[in-house]
Symmetry: C2
Subunit: 450 residues, 2 copies
């Protein structure tokens, strides 16, 4: 029996919805950012539909310092991802739990330890989305006046990931004997101290958490600059990315798979999962109407600020909102996203207002508006034409938008044989189709035995 | 109706038990350190008995580098406290969730954020036990070759706590308006940016988590040196401490309450909760037998190493195990505990073996062995004579030892009117009898209105 390639699906849970004005939608609870039951409901919904994972982005602070806009949005204040995912781990059973954490403002020991702990709590369902942080405001919460320069923070990120993986390999999978009679708790030969000394970190180890049923958490990555892609090709097992057009998506897909192959990896072991924000109607017209309803809820101050943030540039409020985007100086911000938005602005000759409206819904991600059938077609095309291995579904408002997707689009994908009817296993790796990471010591033994 | 003073009770959950050989006890599961269901059962047990809190200690690494001993104990590897408490937060309803985190190897923004998130997840039941870490091995996981000197780490701790509290005061309790119609999510006047610039930290803020039903997490502290007591008197709302004799306990109690009063605080708003490890039998003889059974499970290599760790000194294996403790040089370790053990060794003329056996069960804490009635008497005496406001119960093995305490001792305390029959409320503050921390801005408004 040949195993057909199927779409992977993550539920991207931006609290009350991915659309910047999602919280004002009648179907979204306005207090979602302090309600764990809201997230419980979302996780259960996604699990009942047999989605691969829920996915939480992160920000180490309030990025937007513009009071005029920030007090009109809901997304600056909410639960911290690792605590929230831990809470969800004990009330779910199969769904993956992917959380974002920055390598720029953390220590590798804490990250290795907390994700390993989540991985055990969940029985092998944790994933770490590695980012290097984009905001200057975040640096200011960690003793710095400015963010670490782009190249340096990726240099740190590479070493950070090495340390984390080294710590995750502290214990062989069968290290713990736990023999009460002899009093032997573990086999000392199966403990591996790290003794890392590098440019950025000195970390001795060992880690004080055991390996999980999936070996160690899945390594996810987001950040699509040259440095980001290199890191992803070399090490990531899944990638979260943003593409608006099929061509962009295909180019990125081919590029990453090539980088993985060049790094000696099986390209199938890095799953590329761009974001997509679906607005679904019974007819296309109804879907458009729903989308316009959301767009109309965006206050101009919020739209302008969103544009500044996505592009990593300063205040845009001095410019004519109905005029073109001015030329802007290069910044230390997120290069790939900035370029995407700039390209779009020039290609379509958009005014500032049109530009912010064009990214407000999906925030630089792919926005699809149509019937469930149309959206299934669009996803299928992008999947079949190798623009993606799956998608992170960014419902514009939650839980409603996720319900719409699960009730409307998932059954169509399933009918077409493009999406699972049952979970493949209980770990995130099994469901994503990723290999179990053999411990290097076990691996050597197996080779020696051959 | 006068409100009588009642005993506060925490369940100190050292995975499979507080006794160093607890994991070898027939009633303890040997794999407790990877089983969340073990902790779930413990949390539910403690909550059913209406205990105030569960309490998790912490260690940022494997402290014991002596392979000979470390592979014979279970306590070096387990869940990370914040992730574990978050998991427990959604399957419990009233019990407090106190976790330990070090100010020496963390950043205040992360600690403020994660505990605030736990506080919201649990509906106002989080507590942060502030420690400065004792182990050299922990420093080596965080880019250092040696631990930060004692005075410096307390200097850092004081500033760290200021920053954390500052961040917890980012949002006034009623800052979030969430008015969908006007599109106003919060009142900008009720957001307070911190802008902290101190000797150790530059943290701008604001925090990206809202306040919880108990305002902010309860601040607990452990560390009984002069610097530790100063910090506790000035700021802690509960103290975890170790005293073996009534006199020691009373002296510490009086000292802390005086320091609190001198700092302008109500001494009743700092709850002193030493550890106590009970071994309970139907008769005193049976209790002694149970205790000896546990003691007999301690391997000498483990006993020696435990002594080294508790005292913060190097390898003791060169000395005659049945001879006296040699004179030891002063160290950078945990001063107060070291002194307690040294005093005991000299007072009772103990050999090294006798000394490690004497601390093995309770690890420097108060060991009580007897019938439920005898133990209730002992606790009552220490409580009434102002040696404690409550106790952290360190069951020698878990869950069995906690079950014994809850079935045997709790009903007696309850019958004597010394322990609650119902929770006072749903927050940890309400149950501990601690005041709601008014937000400074709200506070000023109230004063102005008078
Ligand atoms: C699709 C995508 C998602 C991202 N999500 C996050 C996030 O949740 N939190 C964060 O701090 N940074 C996030 N980043 C930002 C990057 O970590 C940061 O901008 C960094 O510079 C890497 O991006 P680059 O390689 O495109 O420059 C994301 C970047 C991309 C492309
Ligand atoms: C009762 C008690 C409990 C402690 N628990 C912890 C702990 O769980 N984790 C930790 O890193 N340090 C813990 N410490 C150690 C202190 O943080 C550390 O030794 C520091 O030096 C403060 O103690 P001192 O004031 O007695 O010197 C504890 C100390 C005491 C007295």
């Amino acid at each position: 029996m040949t195993k057909t390639r199927q779409i992977k699906l993550g539920a991207f849970l931006m609290t009350d919805g991915h659309h910047i004005a999602g919280w004002r939608h009648p179907r979204a609870p306005a207090n979602a950012n302090v309600r764990v039951d809201h997230f419980l409901r979302l996780a259960r919904l996604a699990e009942a539909a047999k989605l691969d994972a829920i996915f939480l982005s992160d920000s180490l602070g309030v990025r937007d310092t513009n009071l005029e806009s920030v007090h009109r949005t809901s997304r600056n204040v909410g639960f911290e991802p690792l605590t929230l995912l831990s809470a969800l781990s004990v009330v779910t059973h199969n769904i993956g739990l992917i959380g974002t954490a920055s390598t720029s403002f953390n220590e590798p020991f804490h990250i290795a330890r907390k994700f390993a702990s989540l991985d055990l709590l969940s029985g092998g369902r944790a994933g770490w989305n590695l980012v290097t942080s984009s905001g200057e405001e975040e640096a200011r919460n960690f003793n710095l006046d400015r963010h670490i320069p782009h190249a340096d923070r990726y240099d740190r990120a590479r070493e950070f990931l090495d340390v984390v993986k080294g710590l995750w390999n502290t214990w062989e999978d069968d290290a713990f004997i736990r023999d009460k009679v002899s009093g032997t708790f573990f086999d000392p030969e199966k403990l591996h101290v790290l003794n890392h000394r590098g440019r950025h970190f000195k970390v001795k180890g060992p880690l004080n958490v055991a390996r999980s049923p999936q070996g160690h958490p899945v390594v996810v990555q987001a950040g699509a600059s040259e440095d980001g892609r290199d890191l992803a090709g070399a090490s990531a097992e899944a990638i979260f990315c943003a593409h608006r057009t099929l061509n962009e998506a295909r180019a990125f897909y081919a590029d990453i798979k090539t980088r993985a192959a060049n790094a000696g990896r099986n390209p199938d072991h890095v799953k590329i999962m761009p974001g997509v924000s679906p607005v679904i109607g019974r007819t296309e017209a109804e879907a458009r109407e729903k989308f316009e309803e959301l767009q109309s809820l965006i206050h101009p101050a919020v739209g302008l600020q969103l544009l500044s943030t996505v592009m990593g540039v300063g205040d845009l409020s001095g410019y004519d909102i109905d005029g073109p985007l001015p030329d802007l100086p290069e910044t230390n911000g997120p290069k790939s996203r900035q370029q995407l938005v700039l390209d779009a602005a020039r290609r379509d000759k958009l005014t500032i207002r049109q530009l912010y409206l064009s990214i407000a819904g999906a925030r630089g991600h792919w926005q699809v508006v149509g019937t469930a059938e149309q959206i299934a077609d669009a996803l299928e095309e992008r999947f079949v034409k190798e623009g993606a291995d799956g998608f992170n579904i960014m419902a514009p408002h939650l839980p409603g938008g996720l319900e719409d997707f699960i009730e409307g689009v998932v059954p169509i994908l399933r009918k077409r044989g493009l999406f699972r009817t049952e979970y493949a296993g209980t770990t995130l790796r099994e469901n994503l189709g990723l290999p179990f990471p053999e411990h290097h010591a076990t691996h050597r033994q197996a080779e020696a035995a051959e």
